[in-house]
């Protein structure tokens, strides 16, 4: 049985709007509609979608905070909303923009409290703390009040806090938001190591597609409450029907290049941009161009994943 098993999941909200002084209109909004997917142990899944697509509603249902309106839902074999406290022992949750750490106290105090809250055996706690502190380079910050930590340090603290009790699943909501490039890189590296060492399953919601590219073998794209794509990152490129680009620098300015299997998108002096389908090989196109023209330089640009996703969203709408 998959670790996370979601089938026909449905969630509607009742929205009351004022219409006049006392009168209110009642309308139903479907935040999640007929959502089905499953995640196996050890997967790293990117869960992406535009604002209001139903991402946080899904996460809330997966963690037991919100009861589904319909459909079936199992996480680690448990019914999240009914067995919320039991499930809590087995999952870790990081909300990128809210900290769970004790603001005025050293990082160590927050960790100690979690040891008691999750009843982590002493030896295990020490082992985990040492490991995460080392991997996340938090050694010097353990005795610093959280309010004095940088955003990156605090995020690393929050992630440690979510992992001390050895959760099988880690939910990360925008974990790299507001971090600089170095901090982002270090965090991604840590998450990869965590997954490799402990096969912790990762479910990541983010707007930062580099997070996805660096971490996730699989992406689920959600729009208007339902999954519009579920598969590998590479497959997402093909899905979008987008094209790769061959940038050709000719020795001299000339008319648009004419070769089979590609078409010119743009000409700027001696530089020309040719598009060809993503699934086609670049070799024959390059060969044809090189054979027929005086080429000074060549380069290939992969399609931008953001374009692909934007395309998916607009098709869903």
């Amino acid at each position: 049985m998959p670790l996370i098993d979601v089938s026909g999941l449905e969630r509607t909200f009742v929205v009351r709007r004022r219409a006049g002084f006392v009168r209110r209109t009642r309308s139903e909004v479907r935040a999640v509609h007929d959502l089905t997917f499953s995640v196996e142990t050890g997967e790293m899944v990117g869960y992406i979608g535009p604002n209001g697509a139903g991402k946080s509603t899904t996460i809330k249902m997966l963690t037991g905070i919100l009861v589904p309106t319909a459909g079936s839902l199992r996480v680690a074999g448990l019914d999240p909303s009914r067995q919320r406290t039991q499930l809590a022992q087995r999952i870790g949750v990081v909300f990128g923009q809210r900290t769970t750490l004790w603001w005025d106290l050293p990082l160590r105090d927050s960790f100690e409290l979690l040891r008691k809250i999750y009843r982590i055996p002493d030896a295990r706690y020490r082992e985990n703390l040492d490991r995460f502190v080392e991997l996340l380079d938090l050694g010097d910050q353990l005795d610093t009040p959280v309010r004095q930590l940088s955003l990156g340090q605090r995020m690393r603290g929050d992630i440690t806090a979510a992992l001390l009790h050895d959760p099988e699943i880690l939910y990360l909501d925008e974990p790299t938001i507001g971090l600089d490039v170095v901090s982002k890189g270090r965090l991604r590296e840590f998450l990869r190591a965590l997954n490799a060492e402990r096969s912790t399953t990762l479910l990541l919601t983010t707007h930062d597609l580099q997070d996805i590219e660096a971490l996730c073998d699989r992406v689920i794209v959600i729009d208007h409450g339902t999954s519009v794509y579920d598969g590998s990152l590479g497959g997402l490129h093909a899905q979008g029907g987008s094209s790769r680009t061959l940038v050709v620098d000719l020795v001299d300015e000339g008319p648009p290049i004419d070769v089979p299997g590609a078409w010119v998108r743009k000409v700027e002096g001696p530089r020309q941009w040719l598009s060809f389908p993503t699934e086609a090989s670049a070799a024959p196109v390059v060969a044809a161009v090189a054979a027929a023209y005086d080429v000074a330089d060549l380069s290939i640009q992969e399609p931008d994943i953001e374009d692909v996703i934007r395309d998916l969203y607009s098709r869903g709408a």
Binding site: F13, G64, Q86, A88, V93, I117, R119
Partner: protein, 277 residues
Amino acid sequence: MAETSTTPASARSWHPVARYGDMARLWVRAELSYPASFAMLVVGSMLINALDFAGIAIMFSSIDSLGGFGLREIALLYGATGVGIGIADTLIGSVERIGEFIRTGRLDQMLTKPVPLLVQVCSDRFTLRRLGRITQAGVVMAWALPVVDWTPSRVLVAVLMVLSSSALFFGLFVLFSCVQFWTSDASEFANAFTYGGNTLTQYPLTVFPRELAIALTVVLPIAFVNWYPCLYLLGRSDPFGFPAWLQFCSPLAASVVVAAALLVWRTGVRRYTSTGS
């Protein structure tokens, strides 16, 4: 239910209480990390509380009795309700911020932790500052003690009075804070009943109309906080002619209110998880 840990059942049932202690301790340490601010707030709170009873005492410089009760007798009523609300406020006062927890998303975070939600909510921002109120009410009550002609059964009733009074206010705090599960910004609503109830019970009920005395017995039973047990302690017959057995009913009234509060709390949490707002 398959509990994976091998913790004995007795340790499990103490888990929430022990975690309450852990979280409260951390909040106190956090508070003490700003020592100057803490000291000023303690002094301020003591001054305000001291002035509170002084008002009643000054009133007695021009009258001998209020509603048929002397100053020390009123001090007994005042102390009993003050200690009760003080203990309840110290232990669970944060429950009135439930609306804020909902709005800021902190409630969601708490829901992902394996400790009962009520324990997490109540221990939040635990502060020793509130001890000022208990101390002041305790001093006033201690000063009033000689007015009672003590017997073993009166000692028992007095102890039960303080416990029931705390439990009753605990119930009222939770009960009326739960309104915020339905209308998320109504913390003042709870105050009307808790602090309002506290103010009402600082005076003998004889100063109020009979209808109010009945309402405070059967509708919102805060007369059991101090009025009925104090009648017994002072050896008085009920001025309204209500039955004497009411004077022993404080623990019962407290149990009913606490049970109702826990029920409403559960309903409120269920409403939150099923509506998401």
